[in-house]
């Protein structure tokens, strides 16, 4: 069995299983905790509307905060959108998903994907530099932050190398790229990468809690 066969076979299955298991573990682990009912009289009904609103309101900082964290949000968006675009609209990636969903969709030309990847990588390095330089972020960062950064960046680097054929051996390179994604998937449920799930839960929670009170959203 070559490394590529391993990456596309057992490694993929193990990674998906750990990924799914971990996500359910963590989500259910929190969801099944006790939560006392709030007995206070709500100011208004329909807290869930506030919850839904909360999902979107925090997608961009409020005006007074824009000068302070606007750039950080933009860098964040570049990383997230880049990740999304490359993942969904990169041809080999689309074909990978098409295999299970059973239909294909429009993809972006290779050159565009390469450009997006490079921009995303730059943004990732900017984010890392900020984490290392900014006193606040440096203080509150832990292993998880750097691990998550590394595991997110690795697929971009290996993917670009594969795309641009910079590996001494293409298949091994491709295998390393795929394995780097599995590593990301395996780590995903156990670190801060879970924020891709928590952000919905957390924003909804605050949005609905404060919708019933009024005040901040």
């Amino acid at each position: 069995m070559t490394l590529l066969d391993f990456a596309r076979g057992p490694a993929m299955q193990i990674a998906i299983i750990i990924f799914v298991l971990g996500i359910f573990w963590r989500l259910v682990g929190v969801w099944a905790l006790r939560q006392k009912k709030d007995l206070s009289e709500p100011r208004q009904k329909g807290a869930w509307i506030g919850g839904i609103k909360g999902l979107f309101v925090h997608a961009w900082p409020y005006k007074p905060f824009v000068p302070k964290v606007g750039t950080q949000y933009i860098v964040g968006y570049i990383i997230h959108l880049g990740l999304f675009i490359v993942l969904i609209f990169g041809t080999p990636h689309m074909l990978f998903f098409a295999d299970i969903v059973g239909f294909t969709w429009w993809t972006l030309p290779g050159g565009v994907i390469t450009a997006v990847s490079v921009i995303t990588l730059v943004a990732l390095f900017v984010a890392l530099a900020k984490r290392l330089v900014n006193p606040v972020q440096r203080l509150i960062s832990n292993f998880d932050d750097y691990a998550a950064w590394f595991l997110t960046t690795a697929p971009f680097v290996t993917g670009l190398m594969t795309k641009m054929n910079l590996w001494p051996h293409y298949e091994t390179g491709l295998a390393i790229h795929i394995l780097s994604v599995w590593l990301l998937l395996i780590y995903f449920p156990f670190g801060k990468l879970m924020h891709s799930f928590w952000f919905v839960v957390s924003r909804y929670t605050t949005g609905s809690r404060f919708a019933r009170r009024g005040g901040m959203s």
């Binding site: 996500i23 359910f24 963590r26 905790l33 080999p92 074909l95 051996h169």
Partner: protein, 353 residues
């Protein structure tokens, strides 16, 4: 004067082949092997000084496709000169002799050139039940290849079967077939995989052996780097379509007619190392992708067993839905268990207070 005593230069001149042809031949080989053009004169000189090489070509568990391909495509090319450079002392399919006389010729050639002859092999070797599944003249091929290898200067495995086991070794591999290098480990071995292999590779390898006295540089799968360093994808004329994201989605759609990339139709070009894209087959007429079909990856080990030829490379093995569902269920159980533990902890505190 015996043939073997003449140098190649003398021998060919006797046949009316000039040094210009020689030079031209070397220029052609150098071009295909990426040997610097400046070395061509030296190559031609050393080739002229070489003696005719004794070559024994054995066919084991095979289909004769390799030799068909090689002999037919040799005819109109400059490389056919190679047949003038070697003394093909044994070849099942091509020789006139058969039966005991053929075997005798083989024994003679081996004896006369012991330690010097070059063995070409096509076909895999069955190992199961002492190799009984493939026998010629009462001798299993396993014994045959061991015997021949003993007196060989080097061995060249021609085709994917001899290199990696090929179709004979495909699942479920009933005869326990393997490639030559799984059996012979103490001789220089070179693999020229491909189903069939490229004739130019054979020419290059033989020329290089004659001119430089050694097999050319090889990769990790013992394939000559000069031909197998790049992937089909690297040199494919449809690569530009891949880079621009233009693909054929079926064999008769607009994309296919426009000659778009065949990646989505399962082309294995990106993971296949061979020189088809530059050398092409049948004297440069065409090659699979030019004919509209994706690469099957025939020069790679186990290519038969890598799922469908028409499944895109990007496809992974998702595993069973049951497995994923079980993982989800296990995750739910673990989550619930941890929450129960936390709740119990809280109860303990409230109770204790």
């Amino acid at each position: 004067m015996k043939e073997h005593d003449l140098t190649l230069g003398e021998e060919l001149r006797r046949q009316g082949i000039s040094r210009r042809s020689f030079l031209k031949f070397c220029a052609g080989v150098a071009s295909s092997m990426a040997i610097p053009a400046a070395m061509v004169p030296a190559m031609a000189d050393s080739l002229a000084q070489a003696r005719r090489q004794s070559v024994i070509w054995m066919a084991y568990q095979e289909c004769t496709g390799c030799i068909e391909s090689l002999t037919r495509s040799f005819a109109p090319t400059v490389e056919n000169l190679i047949f003038n450079f070697v003394s093909l002392d044994f070849q099942h399919a091509l020789q006139a002799a058969s039966g005991d006389r053929a075997v005798e010729a083989l024994k003679t050639a081996m004896k006369e050139n012991w330690g010097k002859y070059l063995v070409l092999v096509d076909g895999s070797i069955p190992l199961k039940d002492d190799g009984i599944y493939s026998v010629s003249h009462g001798q299993t091929h396993l014994e045959s290849v061991r015997e021949l290898a003993e007196g060989a200067a080097a061995i060249v495995s021609i085709g994917t079967c001899a290199s990696f086991g090929g179709v004979g070794a495909a699942r479920p591999n009933p005869t326990g077939a393997v490639g030559i290098d799984q059996i012979i480990t103490d001789k220089p071995i070179l693999n020229v995989p491909g189903c069939p292999p490229m004739p130019e590779v054979m020419t290059g390898v033989l020329t290089s052996f004659l001119a430089f006295g050694a097999l050319p540089e090889v990769d990790s799968l013992k394939r000559p780097r000069a031909f197998f360093a790049d992937t089909i994808h690297d040199r494919c004329y449809r690569r530009a379509f891949y880079d621009r994201g233009l693909f054929a989605d079926s064999f008769d759609d607009e994309g296919a007619r426009k000659g778009y990339c065949l990646y989505r139709l399962g082309c294995k070009g990106p993971v296949t190392h061979n020189a088809c894209a530059t050398l092409k087959f049948n004297g440069g007429v065409s090659w699979p992708i030019q004919s509209g079909h994706g690469c099957l990856g025939c020069s790679e080990p186990n290519f038969w067993d890598k799922e469908s030829f028409y499944k895109p490379l990007s496809a992974g093995q998702w595993g069973s839905a049951e497995g994923i569902a079980m993982a989800a269920a296990a995750g739910v159980a673990l989550g619930a268990a941890s929450a129960v533990m936390s709740r119990r902890n809280q109860d303990k505190i409230s109770g204790g207070k």
